[in-house]
Structure formats: structure tokens, C-alpha cells
Amino acid sequence: MMEIIKNTNIDFMGIKKYAFAFSGALVLLGLVGVVQIYRGEANMGIDLAGGTSIQLKFQRPVEMDQVRRMLAGAGHAEANLQEVPGENILIIKVGARGKEEKMVSDQVVNLLRQKYPDNPLTVESVAEIGPAIGRKLRSDAVLALAVSALAIIVYLAWRFEFKFGVAATIATFHDVAILVGIFHLLGREIDLLFITALLTIAGYSLTDTVVVFDRIRENIRLRKRSTFSETINLSVNEVLSRTIVTSLTVFFTCLALLFFGGGVLKEFALALTIGVVVGTYSSVFVASPIVAIWRGEKMVEVKR
């Protein structure tokens, strides 16, 4: 039998203070990110903020400064330019202005064609989102997060008990908050795909948490140990190798996506990769200790 870890007996409950402090700091970072997003200060994708994003491929390299000056002359001084080195790909992002439902991609593309008549360009992609749709997508995203939190509490309350449901939800929000914090800190773009990654990680992290909870419930029934903390320790240790193996396989696929999946999915893959790590951590160090603290040390059986 090949085993990554063998018969561990780590005192997870004993280090919960440190885990909580560590988590608390990261969550705080996440909350800062949430506030910044709410204030519109974060690097928001145009699908959530509204605006225009154009990806162009030129035959020969172009001077970014030249393009920037030209766009400024056309009234897009705040345009954000990005290039993919070596491929002559230029990504231009122009934010939406107020409530104006105006599409600027035609104008920008035509200007560039005029400016570089002997450097042909192809339009690889255009995304233009009017402010009204941006608002709708934004509220949909918030609604999706809220509804999934509710659905999860209800399901786990039904399968386990209310306190387990709440603990799992707190752990999930912990993951989501940390992911937001890290992305914001790295200055990565917060867009719809990122929200999708958040929900996926929420689902994944829950899977992990449920596996641990399942074992806790079983061990409570077997009354193998006297205190609840000990039961939790035992349960987490028992499922630890599964937790690590599964996290590894998911981690592998996320890495494959990150390094080989191409530019469009890069940020998405990054969010998933970080999320897998955070999600695994939280089911061990966050969800179970919360249940322990809330339930006290009494060994009350959990309904099946």
C-alpha cells in the first residue's frame, strides 16, 4: 500500500486558535477586497462593470504609447492597454461612462485601421456590455452567491443538523472571501468567470467539509472517544489521506488548465487553483472547529 501519510494523529483542535487567527487575517483581507469591489475601486471585468474590451492581433508589433495617445485623443484617456508579448496581440479595455449605452468598439477599430494602414489587424474578440446589462449581471452574481449559501444550509441542515449547515456555510464564505482578497491583492480582474470560480470552489470546499462531517457523525455514534474535540480530531485524521489525495487530483487538473488552457481561461484556472488549496484547508481547520465550539463538548448524537 502506497500511502502519503500513515496513521496520523495530529491535534487539529489544539491549534484551532492559530488557525482562526490565520483565517481571520485572510478573511479581513477578503472583506477589504469586497468593500473595494463595492466601491468600484477594484479591477472589475467589463462584464460586471460595463464597457468595451477588444482583442486585436496585428501583423507587426505596435507601440503601446502611440496607441494610448491616439485613444486619449479620441476621448478614451482612461483606456486600459495590455499586450501579449511575442504574439502582437493588443487588448484594449474602455470602461462604461455613466448610464450611456454607447458602443465604442467600431470607432476604436476604425481608428486603429486608419492609424496603421500598412499593419493589418484582425479583430479576435470584442465584448461590449452596456451599463444596464452590467448592473443585471452584477446583481445576478450576488443573488447566485446568496441563493447557494441558503441552499447549502438547508441541505446540510436536512442531512446533518442546523449547526453543521451554518459551520459549513461559514467555512465556504471564508474560502470565497479569501479568494476575493487574494485576487484583489494581486490586482487580478474580477469578472463573471471569477464569480463562476467562486461558486465552483464553494461547491468543492463543501464536498470536502461534508466528507469530514460525515465521519464525525459516524464516530459520534460509535462513541469511540469521550470528548467532541477528540472525536473531531480522530475523524479529521481518519479522512486526512482522502482529503489530500482528492485535493491533489483536483489540483493537478487545475494546474493543467492554468499552464495549458490558454489565455482566456488563465485567471479562471488561477482562481480554481488557489481555491482548491483554501477549500481543503478550511474544511479541516475552520468548519469542524466551529461545530466543536458551538456544540460544546457534549456527545449528542447527530441525526442520520
Binding site: 502506497m2 502519503i4 482583442q55 458602443m103 467600431d106 477599430v109 479583430v123 479576435e124 474578440s125 465584448a127 461590449e128 456590455i129 452596456g130 444596464a132 446589462i133 449581471l137 445576478d140 452574481a141 443573488l143 447566485a144 441563493v147 447557494s148 441552499a151 447549502i152 441541505y155 446540510l156 463573471l192 468567470l193 463562476t196 461558486l199 465552483t200 464553494a202 461547491g203 468543492y204 463543501l206 464536498t207 470536502d208 461534508v210 460525515d214 465521519r215 482522502r242 489525495v245 482528492t246 491533489l248 487530483t249 483536483v250 489540483f251 493537478f252 487538473t253 487545475c254 494546474l255 493543467a256 488548465l257 495549458f260 488552457g261 490558454g262 482566456v264 481561461l265 479562471f268 480554481l272
Partner: protein, 531 residues
Amino acid sequence: MWKSIRWRATLIAVLTTVSIAVVLPSLTDSLPETWKKKMPKIHLGLDLQGGVFLRLAVEIDKAIENTTLRYADDARAICREKGIPVLGWQRAGVDGFSLKLPPGDFAGRALAVLKDELGSLDLSQGETRPDGATLIGRLKPAEVQGIRTNAVSQGVETIRNRIDQFGVREPQIVAEGEDRIVVQLPGVKDQQRAIELVGKTALLEFKLVDEGASIEEALKGNIPEDDEILYQRSVDRQTGRTTKTPLVLKKRALLTGDTIKTAKVNFGSERGGAHVSLSFDARGTKIFDRVTAENVKRRLAIVLDGTVYSAPVIQERISGGEAQITGDFTAEQASDLAIVLRAGSLPAPVKVIQNVTVGPSLGQDSIQKGVRAALIGAILVVVFMGVYYRFAGLVADFALIFNILFLLAGMALLEATLTLPGIAGIILAIGMAVDSNVLIFERIREEIRSKKTVRASIDAGYDKAFWTVVDSHVTTLITAMILFQFGTGPIKGFAVTLSMGVAINLFTALVCTKVVFDYINARRPMQALSI
């Protein structure tokens, strides 16, 4: 035991055969025609095959306003016919207008006449003052509702008509909510052209030029009541510069585009370039004949969506029912204009509020990289499982392959759309799929450690892990469903592949792997299990 194994093996074999038959058409083109035609296919999303996605907002209020204005015109014309002088008129909100009538019994008479003639209006008498009376007309609520529904449904029809004539394979044009239309045009590269084609109102009107009015005065604001200023647009072929010339036109349209029978492109007009020739239906021909007969030597402007394209002098009566629109078009512009004129005008103007265009090369690139990432991810997982769980790992790998095959077959059967995030969903599902088997295998290891027989350990492992596997899958499914509900196009695709992958995994991880162990045990009870 054998009976149960045989039954399960048959089920898996049947599912596999069906899945391969269903999936092949999506993977390769070199299959017999009948096979390809009969089998459903996985659709590629716009982000993978390239194309244009447009979300349009229908400006219904404009349509209501236009209808109201038309009724106001009609009301004034009817009054004039019946000898009731109208001193003036005003708009009253989007769906109403008021007429100013002289004192006396005129208001009462007008009310009676109009009630007869204009059934779609709620008419009422406003305040009567010594210097005059007012009459208020307002669209009936049912009429407004009719315009609302019609604006979207008719808009969808018209756009579909235009797209069909333009020639796009598998376009999707659907109404969304009360005032939105979503248009998906796979394979279309030129977004500017697509937006022109879909978004043009294409209201064609023939209006007389008011020769008596002075342009200078009109530009200052002294414009006769029944006139309006519109601009004639012309393009200099050398410099490409457009110039706009103001014209004073009679507001009333003598003829509109709904009487057009056909429209086609012709080349070689005197100004060079392409032009569009129209021929009218019987009603249009009659009206055009009368209009040209009555107005010889006057100028008739051809107005499209509020822009004058040309304003030629009527040389003689035209009875043939044909006309031309010239306006320095390129061949492409002229052909698109002919299409929109044939397909008819939109009942209400639309505005593009979302435009997502993906070029074909980027889509191709995305597919290649997505497939590559999926392969590498799958290989990593397969190798890891084989190394870590040995024989049992290989059994899990075998289940994983079935998982992917069934997933693709399921997508083809549902004719689901595969998007780039959808590919990511498959990749992620591969990583998560083995989790069920990991849970089961770890359980089996525990049982073996507690000195049970191999066979009992395997049974106990599957048994005890069952609810854990189900519980953990359900949580992923819940979030995937919610993503499906709230997500747009590409993200829906992610939710579809992830949730289907996870659901199918319940079958492959619990049934497909178990049957392998059961088969081996039934032949000769295992003494040791390489796990």
C-alpha cells in the same frame, strides 16, 4: 452473483455502444451521411466557433410614441375633412395627444366623428375656455399592450427574416423578458456589419420636399407646422468624407417601405457604385403612381431611418411601381440594405446593449488549448491513481474513461452547447470524478487494516462510503444548478458539463468499478487486493 454481474455488465456495454454511436459525429466528419444526420451533435458555443452575440433592447416607448403621432396626424386629417378647424395640437405623454379647437360646438362634433373613425383611441373633452376647447386622445390600454408584445415578437420575426436572407448557419434569435432580443450568429466575423443588419430599423419613407419653405428660416426654428428638417448624407468617394445637407420636408410620408415587394442590388448608376432598386406591391404601385402624377417637377425625398438618401425631381408620372435608392453604397452595403428592405422594418427601434464577438481564429485556438489541457489533466490524474492505488487505481481510471465518454454522449443527446468554460468544467469534473473512488478505496483500506477478508472489505468499503459520496456530490450539484440558473451563455456551459460530469460519476464510480471487483471475486475469491 453471476446474474447480477451479467446484468450490470450488459447495462454498461449497451450504454457504451450507444454513447460511442452518439459521440462520434461530434468528433469526426468522416462518417456515413445517414449516421451523421440521424445523430444529435454537441453544439459549439460562440466562444469556440467564433461568431457574434448581440443583446438588443427594444425601445417600445418609441413604437408607442410613433403610433400615437400617427393617430394625431390621422385625427387632424379627419377633422379637416369634416370641416372642423384644428388650431393646434400637442403631445400629451408617450401615448396621448391633445387637439386645440375653436370655441363653439366643434369639440363635441370632433369627438363624435373621431370616436367613429379611430376606435383604438380613448377620446375625451378637455377644459372649455372662451377662446377654445381641447380634445384629448389617448391610446387604449389594450392597444398599448398590443404594441408592446408586437414590438418584440414582430422584431424577432423581422430579424430572423433578415438573417435567413443574409445566410447564417444555425442562427438563434429569441425574445428575452419583456423588451429584449438576443441574437446569436455563429460563424459571422464582421460585427459591424452584423450590427447594421440586425439593428437597423429600416423604416423607408417617401416624403415631399417643401420647396416653399426656406432652409435658413427653418434652421433658425421658424419651420412650418407640418414640415421637418432632415439631413441628406452623401459620401465623397475620394476622401471618404461624409457631408450632411439639411432639407425641409413635409412631415407626412406619402408611401412607406411596407409596400415593397422586392428589393435588389444594381450596379452602374450615374454616380457610380451600387444602388438598390425597389418594386412595390399592387397597393404601393397605385399610391406611387398617384403621388408621382400629382407632383411632377417637385422633389421626392427617399428617407431611411430619418436620413435622406436622395431627393430626386419627379420627371414624369411613374406607373411601373419601381424606384431606386442611390447613396454611394459599397456593394456590401447595398446588398445588406436590399435585405433589410425586403425583410421589412422593425416595429420599434432597437439598441445594442451587449455585443460579444469572437473571431474564428481565437475560437480555434481556445479549442486546441482546452483539449490539450484536458488531456494533460486527465493523464496526470490517471497516472497518479495508477501509481497510488495500483490495481484498484487502474479500475478507477477505467471508470474515469467511461465517465468522460458518457458525459460527452449526454451532452450530445441533450444537444447541449459546449463553451470554453464548459471545457474547463470537463477538466474539473475529471479531477473531482476520482474523488468518489478515492473515498471508497480509502474506506476499503481501513477495512483491510481491520483484518477483514478482501471481499468483505470491498463490500463494506462501497457500503460505508455510499452516503458520503452522495452527500458530497449533492453539494457540488447545488452550486452548479445555481450557476446554471443565473449564469449567461458560456458560464451556463460550465455548469452543464460540471453538473453532468458529477452526476454521471455517481454511476461510473459506484457501478462500473464495483462490477470489476465483483467479477474477479466471483471467478476466484481474491486473497489480496493491490490497492
